[in-house]
Point group: C4
Chain length 276, copies 4
Amino acid sequence: MVAHQVAVQIGLRRRLYQEMEPSARAQQGLSRANTFIVLLVLLSFALFALETEPTIQGPARQWLSILNLIVLIVFAVEYVVRFWIAGEDPRYRGAAGRVRYFLSPFVLTDLAAFLPELLWLLFQPAGDDSMLMFLRVLRLARLAKIARFVPAFKVLGVALMRAGSQLLTALAMALALVFVAAVLLYFIEGVGEGREEFASIPRSVWWAVSTLTTVGYGDVYPVTVGGRIAAGIVAIAGIGVVALPAGIFASAFADELREREQTKRKQKTAVQPSSD
Amino acid sequence: MVAHQVAVQIGLRRRLYQEMEPSARAQQGLSRANTFIVLLVLLSFALFALETEPTIQGPARQWLSILNLIVLIVFAVEYVVRFWIAGEDPRYRGAAGRVRYFLSPFVLTDLAAFLPELLWLLFQPAGDDSMLMFLRVLRLARLAKIARFVPAFKVLGVALMRAGSQLLTALAMALALVFVAAVLLYFIEGVGEGREEFASIPRSVWWAVSTLTTVGYGDVYPVTVGGRIAAGIVAIAGIGVVALPAGIFASAFADELREREQTKRKQKTAVQPSSD
Amino acid sequence: MVAHQVAVQIGLRRRLYQEMEPSARAQQGLSRANTFIVLLVLLSFALFALETEPTIQGPARQWLSILNLIVLIVFAVEYVVRFWIAGEDPRYRGAAGRVRYFLSPFVLTDLAAFLPELLWLLFQPAGDDSMLMFLRVLRLARLAKIARFVPAFKVLGVALMRAGSQLLTALAMALALVFVAAVLLYFIEGVGEGREEFASIPRSVWWAVSTLTTVGYGDVYPVTVGGRIAAGIVAIAGIGVVALPAGIFASAFADELREREQTKRKQKTAVQPSSD
Amino acid sequence: MVAHQVAVQIGLRRRLYQEMEPSARAQQGLSRANTFIVLLVLLSFALFALETEPTIQGPARQWLSILNLIVLIVFAVEYVVRFWIAGEDPRYRGAAGRVRYFLSPFVLTDLAAFLPELLWLLFQPAGDDSMLMFLRVLRLARLAKIARFVPAFKVLGVALMRAGSQLLTALAMALALVFVAAVLLYFIEGVGEGREEFASIPRSVWWAVSTLTTVGYGDVYPVTVGGRIAAGIVAIAGIGVVALPAGIFASAFADELREREQTKRKQKTAVQPSSD
């Protein structure tokens, strides 16, 4: 009877493994369990955002706390289940395998994403709120959960590699331009006119970044004739150069996505050669 | 004599149908009646805009009301005429066909675009102006009229489909970046420095959106050294990523337009093979 | 002797015509006389800008007036010379030809670019300065001089034609988006919150243009939660769409320029087949 | 023994030459000595920026001065070493060769990047700080050191040449648009409404640059109905045109980088034809 129980358990473990481990899944797309996890991560980010809003008080705040606790518990359960089903993977079998699983980056990140905060909430240690605040930053580790299940996030890394040295060169060029523009305005507006906002090169760099990315908050801008001429030349000459690194990355990302879709479509065509 | 009258009516209906139904038209381009409707929609939007302007008072406002009433009546007449001529379409013949026509989305939208407001103006029911305001929002339904007659607006949907999963992935990436940037600045400027504008993550998200789209209103910006360094890195690294979804859609839209023009040009060449 | 004088005059006229009429010139590039005219137009624009600056007073202003008078006289001389040498062109021979020349658009523009202002300065009629101001706007007609001599400006029109219906469609889409965004924010911020900056749709349109072009002056921005959410969605979804018309024109312009250069290079290669 | 010493010296000179002269290096990439120089230049720019920050006082400032002095001395040593090893290059042998080396642009720039400031610090001449400030601007000459060792910076010049006349044409177009927009707003807002920010064309040009580059600081913007309509049209029509020169340069730069990488990859494949 014990053997039968173990067999049932093993069967359950296999089914759970196929449900929760994307690489073990036969069909395309996200399994229902993982879709739920992804949605829960998105919900937990929404909770994270709302919890920091000081104008939300009273019962609404209590609901946020309760929902947050539920999310933490679900992530704890998910962690335990994943730890259990990891035995299906030959790499993680046995005690040594389990230790190896425990120490793998994704699993440690998973742990950091719920354990410290859960322990704090359960034991309420003496300590100020800034500690709890820090624990909440760890919630960003939940992005790793999405990165694991949603293939789009994997493309991010590939696109960075693909853009490679082009990206680095463009970035170096952009930074050099930002620095030269900042030095220019520092001398014209800061040294020449004694303006507070350009009183040092680091402050001028803030102006240069805000201008060359075309954000232009309006907290710092040149007011003298010379400064405006220099700023105008810098702006017309430079906006494309500073947008270049982000543009190179963006086009590498779009190219990678397009190629993946084409490969997928070809594979489909290869599987059904008689259709269409 | 009755039969003759019916025959005249049927002849009129057919001619009107060919004039007002784009799919039944032999020539290319918009018919005169539909051009008039499109221009009337544009005029009605201008009226809509001007009516909301509180500084327009006195006779100018009365003229706006009169013009608006005329537009409503023309749309009512157009609706009745289209309802009548719909009998030319085999799908909408007979009582059941008329009900089917009445319930089709475009026709319901057409009704919503003039009937509620016209009824309000004719019967002047007791009720505050905010109700009338709401009825005016329904005027945006008139965009559907343009979408039906101007092919360019149909391309919009095709371009969205075409960009498809690429668009979704880029959008997810952009939103993730906005969120991470907001959390970063929330901790540096909000928690660290107690600044009101970054006092919660939702408020920081407003900063992140305004910065990463490079709009940069200047209502929220970092003032501390750490915040400015973080904001600078986020701006240089991120502006391309947040512009990516709109860029992917824009290029899909432009590609779709180009291909349609080429197809059209080829068809013309095929029709007149001897000319050059 | 009279015959001889006429012959000399005719020879001078021919040489001047070949110097000043780009289409009659054998070599490539701008002739010295036309280069001088183009530089003079640029100088006259600089004078135009500086003359409007109220902080420039005293002798500097007098120098500006003198330089401006010289420029006007040179343009007058240029006009007379061009009128004289137009006789080299068969189309403009004889009295009727001269009238036809006088009434051609470029020539009328040339006249408007100096005559009204010169007459004003010479006769100093009674009248306020705003009249003189208006006469100065006519100086922008001098751009036509550049457009005639610098081929790059001709590309402008070709690029507009080339982008054609694509440009129009993208423009319509951009304007529709601006309008819908404005209506949205008008209802959320203006009607819902009674904010002055969104108190009517035309005012909201100003916000929508300033946001969707990513200029973001910071004179108008949403402050309510709903308004910021709507503005954020509009900004992320829309910045690419509103940048589309300018982007389509810019790429058509760049394509046209590239093709012209390639054509020029091919022609050179065809002329010197043995070299390289 | 003297001959032996000379031989050792010559051997050292050769090895130093191969280490410090990129063109004499067998392996790809930057040598350790030049990597150190590049990092030192970056450090010296960081020092430059921090030295101008008035809030850095006391011991931190003294550390900056000491680090700066060390950097100057290292650059002096580097200069002397490079002068010595230049004898390895046949072009710079002998007294005449050394003079030629001394007068070559890169070497003069290298001298300007440390000598004036070092002399000032060593002899502390009577004179105000603005003189020292000017000497510090010469530090930007150190960018030339990076330009010499990092190939990416060489691509800059090639990309400018490549974009060539296209870049110039686009720039002329952008400047013309800026000028016309400025004149337009000057007449509508400045002359028509007496607004200080548009009171002259040069001031309007500042608005036009800030708007058409989409920086939009918010220090200058139209407030009248006419001005806003004109500004809106200018913004929608013009943002792509003013971004064009920077975009043309950016794409020429990216193309040049891509081609260089492909060439490098082909060369590698050609060297190892049997691999892969």
